[in-house]
């Protein structure tokens, strides 16, 4: 596979396929992929080999460094493409002409190549040329609207979830196309805003039948009527937060967990969501005098699915040893020495295991492009 990417969408698409064992080469511009400039960095010192996003999303990839603004580099890209099964491309559309990139033309020229293009709004339609950032695409996909407090502006989830979801969709498109026929290439047109719009699953039928939008609901679920079950919310406790959730089949067991008979009253149980404030108030005294771990431990004993709200450092600390028992964290060498823990497999296959690996140094695989003398010539000409 080849990856021409500058966002988390193309990078995660490539990472999933490299995790599945694909031999994937990242084609980077002279300054390196934009992902390399994203921190955090060690000691807060920017370093194109050591940014967190690069170290996470570019594992088990090769890197070649090509100046595609030169015709000679584009000929090298052509040579690579002729030996490639699938290409993922997420460079901003406005830059395609300068790099002589045209997905339709690539699809026509390489009939066996799967050409997957990720753009903010897709290749066609009235917004095809709109610019998109993570935040504006969250707005366009409808997923922003349901996040946050009802009396404030909507708020998106942390990070680049929209682009990561688009990467997942793109990977599903590529693998499906390979299954449909590895000798017959397809053009795979992936839109980031649509990956976000897909997340509203369930919301379209409500909107269709009611012609109304749901209102944001803080930490509570959105779009349900008074008769829906509750809690499903984040609540403070003695030393942090828990995710509080009743057992959907036996919601009355909450009364045992909180030693609070009012949580089993028939009137309350008949309309739990409609009594959400009451439920919160009845849980509060116990929660505020009990540590997170103890609340969750007791709830799970009663088969009530409470969980702890963990900060990233707590996820890494893995107090119960769950991730360690599953050998999830991968001790990975940092390019500047030492090591760090990288997330392990997204998926565990029984006989074709997920591949972890390390992120490549910029241009580390240039030597695969040609002979040593050719490389010297190309380097002098600013091609590689």
């Amino acid at each position: 596979m080849l990856e021409l990417s500058e966002t988390a969408a193309g990078a995660y698409c490539g990472r999933l396929l490299s995790g599945f064992g694909a031999d994937l080469t990242l084609v980077e511009p002279p300054a390196g992929s934009a992902l390399r400039r994203q921190g955090p960095f060690r000691d807060d010192t920017p370093d194109r080999e050591g940014g967190a996003s690069h170290l996470h999303l570019n594992r088990h990839k090769r890197s070649v460094r090509l100046n595609l603004e030169t015709a000679a580099a584009r000929r090298l890209l052509d040579r690579l493409l002729s030996e490639t099964d699938a290409l993922v491309l997420d460079l901003e559309r406005r830059r395609w002409p300068a790099l002589a990139i045209d997905p339709e033309e690539l699809h026509a020229r390489y009939p066996k190549l799967q050409v997957c293009v990720i753009t903010p709004y897709g290749l066609a339609g009235p917004k095809a040329h709109w610019r998109g950032s993570e935040l504006t695409l969250y707005a366009s996909g409808g997923y922003l609207r349901i996040g946050g407090e009802a009396d404030r502006e909507p708020v998106k989830a942390w990070g680049e979830q929209g682009h990561l979801q688009a990467g997942l969709h793109a990977a599903l498109g590529i693998v499906s196309a390979l299954l449909a026929g590895s000798q017959r290439g397809q053009l795979i047109d992936t839109a980031v805003f649509e990956a976000l719009a897909f997340l509203l699953g369930g919301g379209y039928q409500h909107a269709w039948f009611s012609d109304a939008e749901p209102i944001r609901n803080g930490a509570r679920l959105v779009g349900f009527g008074a008769g829906h079950l509750y809690p499903s919310t984040l609540r403070p406790c003695q030393d942090g937060w828990v995710h509080a959730h009743c057992n959907n089949r036996y919601p009355e067991t909450m009364s045992v967990l909180f030693d609070e008979p009012r949580l089993a009253e028939p009137e309350l149980l008949a309309s739990l969501f409609g009594h959400a404030d009451t439920v919160d108030a009845l849980m509060a005294p116990t929660l505020m005098r009990t540590p997170r771990r103890d609340v969750v431990h007791r709830a799970q004993e009663l088969r009530i699915p409470f969980t702890e709200v963990l900060a990233p450092s707590e996820v890494l600390a893995d107090a119960d040893g769950h991730h360690a028992a599953r050998a999830f964290w991968q001790r990975t060498p940092h390019p500047d020495g030492g090591e760090y823990l990288a997330p392990g497999p997204a998926v565990r296959f029984g006989t074709t295991p997920w591949v972890d690996g390390t992120a490549p140094r910029l241009g580390q695989d240039n030597e695969r492009l040609g002979s040593p003398s050719e490389l010297v010539r190309w380097r002098r000409a600013g091609v590689v």
Binding site: Y12, P40, F41, A52, H56, G125, R131, G132, S133, T136, A139, G141, G142, R145, G147, E153, V155, W158, G159, L168, A170, L172, V175, A177, A180, R184, Q186, I188, D189, T190, A191, F193, E194, A197, L199, G201, G202, Y204, Q205, W208, F209, S210, D211, E213, P214, G227, W241, H243, L310, P312, S313, D320, H323, Y340, L341, A342, P343, V347, R348, T351
Partner: protein, 429 residues
């Protein structure tokens, strides 16, 4: 009001990538059904294996009753119907010896078994991997446990939103200086569903070279991929990441601003993100306020970011005068990333959604034409939009036993009479 003019029915696809693949879908809740509906749209024949008493008689969020038809709210539940599209429905009692035997007959004629039970449940049915493989060495067995099939949390229970909490994503999500929030209604579920569908198709590709295999997608491990930057970054910087809401770590303005009521809704907002000087200049060309252009506080990206609170205030005073859809279009024409804050209702009216058929119509026997979103990729040769509305409960039981397994009418009638299979919703025994 929304009308059928807003909902074009999905076209039939000439060829789908998973044509000829059969999936036995034992999943419940959200994550598993999302994986199964993706496989269904991709062309697999997905048999949703439901317990004969699986659906509540009076679901809390049944759709408003429309048109003629029996009063069967379990067939008109909005969320369930949206998540059950592109499948067939077969009711089997797996705790009944004959029901289990029927299931194993289906395993012998299928490609994928998909389940998202707690890890002990398949064992309780005596349907673990060695049993499935004995009936079909080519079977791909996809499990989607919350925490994994091994490890100290193996037997803990959680729905998707509880996993959002355990992954760190809820902790990271929220307004700057505010409390943690969920990253969406069922974000972890949707994410796990996509990862599981992807892994299932990858296993089908791998099956050209190896036999069937197990595929385990722990919902927690699928979500940890999405915050790798925070997990790795925390180790590099030694600092815990902080909640920053809609802000950018170095660019401004970058936020969500109030807009004039639109589509009859006062909850009206526009997102604007200026990541560099060019996009700021594009915003100014529409904003058209001379004082801002020369304002010392806003002349460089770093200064705009430092003064982002006052900049957001000024921008809000301006945006609130405009319809968000019209203002977004003007800003985009000028070259500034901007978008109205859409919702399911406005998306059903959106021209880009219509152009790509991001959401299309499926015809359901009891709710009529109803919407469903399609995945975010378009395959040029083998299109894969949703292919049928949610099946009525147990609608396909008899046909599947007859056509796929070759059972006689007498045998099918006996299985239904004994409660091993069902062609209708029953009371819990």
């Amino acid at each position: 009001m929304l009308s059928e003019a807003h909902l074009e029915p999905f076209a039939e696809s000439p060829a789908r990538p998973l044509d000829g693949v059969r999936v036995l879908d034992l999943t419940t809740a959200v994550a598993g059904p999302v994986a199964a509906l993706l496989l269904g749209a991709l062309g697999a024949e997905v048999l949703r294996i439901e317990t004969p008493w699986a659906r509540p008689q009076r679901p809390a969020s049944a759709l408003p009753y429309r048109g003629e038809g029996p009063d069967e709210p379990w067939n008109r539940e909005a969320r369930l119907n949206e998540l059950a599209n592109s499948k067939r429905s077969v009711a089997l009692n797996l705790t009944h010896a004959d029901g289990r035997a029927v299931f194993l007959d289906l395993v012998a004629r299928s490609d994928i078994v998909l389940e998202n039970f707690s890890p002990r449940v398949m064992g309780n049915f005596d349907l673990e991997w060695d049993v499935l493989r004995a009936h079909n060495p080519q079977i791909i067995y996809v499990s989607m446990p919350a925490f994994g099939k091994a490890g100290p949390w193996r037997d803990r229970i959680s729905y998707g939103p509880g996993i959002d909490a355990m992954s760190g994503l809820s902790w990271l999500t929220g307004y700057a200086g505010g409390s943690p929030l969920k990253p969406g209604n069922f974000y972890c579920d949707q994410n796990a569903g996509l990862h599981a569908a992807l892994a299932a198709v990858a296993a089908l590709v791998a099956r050209r070279r190896v036999a069937g295999q197990t595929v385990e997608l722990a919902m927690l491990e699928g979500e940890l991929q999405l915050i790798g930057e925070a997990l790795v970054g925390q180790q590099l910087s030694g600092r815990e990441p902080i909640r920053i809401g809609n802000e950018h770590s170095s660019a401004a303005p970058h936020g969500v601003y109030p807009a004039a009521p639109s589509l009859g809704d006062a909850d009206s907002w526009i997102a604007i993100a200026c990541r560099d000087d060019a996009e700021w200049a594009a915003l100014l060309s529409v904003w058209n306020d001379d004082a801002l252009e020369s304002d010392d506080r806003f002349v460089t990206g770093l200064r705009r970011w430092r003064h982002r609170a006052v900049l957001d205030e000024l921008l809000s005073e301006w945006t609130v005068e405009f319809d968000p859809f019209e203002l977004a279009a003007r800003l985009q024409r000028a070259g500034a990333p901007a978008a109205a804050v859409e919702g399911a209702r406005s998306l059903l009216r959106d021209e880009q959604v219509h152009a790509r058929q991001s959401v299309g119509g499926l015809s359901h026997p009891q709710t009529g034409l109803s919407p469903a979103p399609q995945a975010a990729f378009r395959l040029s040769r083998t299109p894969a939009p949703p292919k049928n509305a949610a099946p009525l409960f147990a609608a396909d039981t008899a046909a599947v036993l007859r056509d796929i397994l070759g059972y006689s009418e007498e045998r099918i009638a006996a299985l239904i009479a004994s409660g091993a299979a069902s062609d209708r919703l029953r009371d819990r025994p």
